[in-house]
């Protein structure tokens, strides 16, 4: 069929005859009418998503003070914003933490509070110049007192996102929420059937200049987002909008316990149904979208993929992992994604929102999402361990261990079985305690049996974090048969870091 133009559609909005549905309603319509019929019948499909988008923030201009200041550093409610711009311009990022309140409050909360009309304390410092003599500034403002307040998010609206679980034996606190040990739960993000980009995966209508619902106001897509990865269906967009138009309901500061702050951003994109191809794409369902379930227990860039699932399975509340049914929970709100798609539909029907076509579509080819180029070798455990490790046989006495430690002048003594396998560890402190309590005979009674270990191929940074988390100062390095290959201590790591 001959398609429609955006002008045709906008004319129908103006005369009130436009036919708008949400992306949730579209699969049934396409199933019934076919793509051609649906394209004739439906003018616009609205999408929506509401979830944590860490790469978010806002530019603001405070207006000039008297005497004027060229801010070198600035804090809003104790959260630092980037002031390396002109005198009283700054950018506050969602994941910047408060100096005084830490993870409980961050840039995201400042943005929410601004939108909610609350007062924000500003503190700025400067070096002073002939044209900007002032060195310190303290004031309190609301969003109405400042000039521009422009949300500008470098990466939003991920097409889909990986699913998280945790096969390790300790609880992890991540940007995917609390992940319970031993695959105790599964978390996921994204709106599935309502996902803006999944409803137009070839970006026929999405790109620089597409007008969108942004946090309750009208904003724009300004191009591809950072880490845009069309080849793997991980497309992203950069968006911009006026904070002064926004609704607190759709801009929400969040704290992920033990991780940091992020901003829940509400985005709705209208997809003008210009032709049957576009109509067909908007018939995507939760069952059509597949994502990888990753093991966050492995703190590396490439995490092991445990299986693939669809959003339909995730939304059922349980998925099977290694033969066990595990409870899932979303981190993004489908309830509010639906509200956004609905509100955008309303706006269009009432004639207060007119979609646009992009001046330049999001790129579908020629972009590559590369890992970081790192110069210098990433040191691993193997580079720093003391290889001539001294161990002691299981079954010997506390006195024997004391002698070995005295002679060797070190603190940690791995205990091994007669087959050379690690069975425990003993420290100089354990021995001192045992002697004080007059427990001088069996080593087995006083050694620590649940030994935290390292693998020779692990990067030093991961082992350093493990030492810190367990509040210990050395780890035996073992091979896959639990044979002790060496020992790594926090001293070794400090020396290495000092050299770096």
């Amino acid at each position: 069929m001959a398609g429609k133009t955006i002008e045709d559609i906008n004319a129908k909005i103006a005369d009130g005859s436009v036919h708008v549905v949400t992306a949730e309603e579209m699969p049934d319509i396409v199933a019934e009418l076919g793509p051609d019929g649906a394209a004739k019948e439906i003018d616009i499909v609205t999408t929506g998503t509401f979830g944590a988008m860490c790469s978010s923030g806002a530019f603001f201009n405070l207006g000039h003070s008297d005497p004027p200041i060229k801010m070198q550093k600035v804090w809003l409610n104790d959260v630092e914003a980037y002031a390396g711009l002109a005198a009283i311009d700054a950018y506050i990022g969602a994941s910047q933490l408060s100096k005084s309140r830490g993870m409980e409050y961050g840039g995201a909360h400042v943005i929410e509070d601004l939108v909610a009309g609350k007062s924000i304390d500003i503190h700025a410092t400067a070096y002073g110049t002939d044209c900007y003599p002032r060195k310190v500034l303290d004031t309190t403002v609301t969003i109405d007192d400042i000039n521009q307040a422009t949300m500008c998010n470098p990466r939003n609206g991920y097409q889909k996102y990986n699913v998280a679980t945790n096969c390790s034996d300790r609880t992890l606190y991540t940007y995917m929420g609390t992940l319970l040990p031993d695959c105790g739960n599964v978390t996921y993000s994204g709106a599935g059937v309502l996902s803006p980009i999944y409803n137009d995966p070839t970006y026929q209508t999405i790109g620089l200049g597409s007008r969108i619902f942004l946090c309750g106001g009208q904003g724009y897509v300004t191009g591809q987002g950072t880490q845009h990865d069309p080849a793997n269906n991980f497309a992203t967009m950069m968006v911009q909008g006026d904070l002064k138009q926004m609704d607190k309901k759709y801009v929400r500061g969040a704290t992920f316990h033990g991780y940091g702050t992020s901003l829940y951003v509400g985005i709705g994109i209208p997809i003008p149904i210009l032709n049957a191809d576009i109509a067909k794409a908007t018939a995507v369902t939760d069952a059509d979208i597949t994502v990888d379930v990753l093991d966050y227990g492995v703190a590396r860039r490439s995490r092991p993929v445990l299986r693939q699932v669809t959003y339909e399975e995730l939304k059922s509340g349980m998925i099977d992992i290694n033969g066990r049914e595990i409870t899932t929970s979303p981190m993004s709100s489908f309830h509010d994604a639906r509200a956004i798609a609905g509100e955008l539909k309303d706006w269009i029907q009432k004639g207060t929102f007119y979609p646009t076509l992009p001046v330049e579509r999001l790129p579908g080819t020629g972009v590559e999402c590369k890992p970081m180029k790192q110069i210098g070798e990433q040191p691993t455990v193997a580079d720093v361990i003391a290889k001539r490790v001294i161990t002691i046989q299981q079954g010997l006495t506390v006195e024997d261990a004391a002698k070995v430690i005295m002679e060797g002048n070190f603190n940690h003594l791995p205990v091994v079985s007669d087959k050379g396998r690690l069975v425990g560890i003993i420290t100089a402190w354990d021995i001192a305690k045992a002697v004080a309590k007059n427990k001088r005979d069996k080593l087995d009674d006083i050694m620590t049996r649940a030994v935290v270990t390292a693998d020779a191929n692990e990067p030093i940074d991961i082992v350093a974090r493990r030492l810190e988390q367990h509040n210990i100062s050395a780890l035996p390095v073992v091979d896959k048969h639990s044979r002790v290959m060496g020992i790594i201590t926090s001293d070794d790591i400090s020396k290495l870091v000092a050299r770096r």
């Binding site: 509401f50 944590a52 599964v186 929400r252 969040a254 409870t327 929970s329 981190m331 489908f334």
Partner: protein, 131 residues
């Protein structure tokens, strides 16, 4: 329903809960207990079947303990909650679930006040209730 038992130091050494279970033959489930060091008394949060509350309360009161009924073991601030459902998967007893419209609901009868959902909630919408 949830009740909190407050015991004064003079009666803490007694096996109060066991006595009441034996006397009333009601199966009581202890959610948590906190006994303060030396002479501070203590508190025990107990799950009691609705219809047997009066009988159980009387048995405890007879022994000198006071009882407060816990109306809400976990309190949700609906202005802060965005209905994401993040809290669902960390709850050990399945208190939280989605309604058909994807808003979250809580079956508070099942709550053991572990606080896992409070830590998980990205919007600080939950807190463990005090009586």
């Amino acid at each position: 329903m949830k009740i909190t038992l407050h015991v004064t130091p003079d009666i803490t050494p007694r096996p109060l809960v066991a006595e009441v279970i034996l006397e009333t033959r009601v199966l009581l489930n202890i959610d948590w207990a906190s006994v303060k060091p030396k002479g501070g008394g203590g508190e025990v949060a107990i799950d009691v079947p609705h219809d047997q509350y009066d009988q159980v309360a009387a048995a405890f009161e007879k022994r000198g303990a006071t009882i407060t009924a816990l109306v809400q073991p976990v309190i949700k601030d609906d202005d802060e909650c965005v209905n994401c459902g993040a809290c669902i998967s960390v709850c050990p007893t399945g208190v939280i679930s989605f309604r058909d419209d994807w808003s979250v609901q809580m079956d508070l009868e099942k709550c053991v006040q572990c606080g896992a959902c409070v830590t998980m909630c990205p919007h600080a919408a939950l807190k463990v209730g005090k009586y």
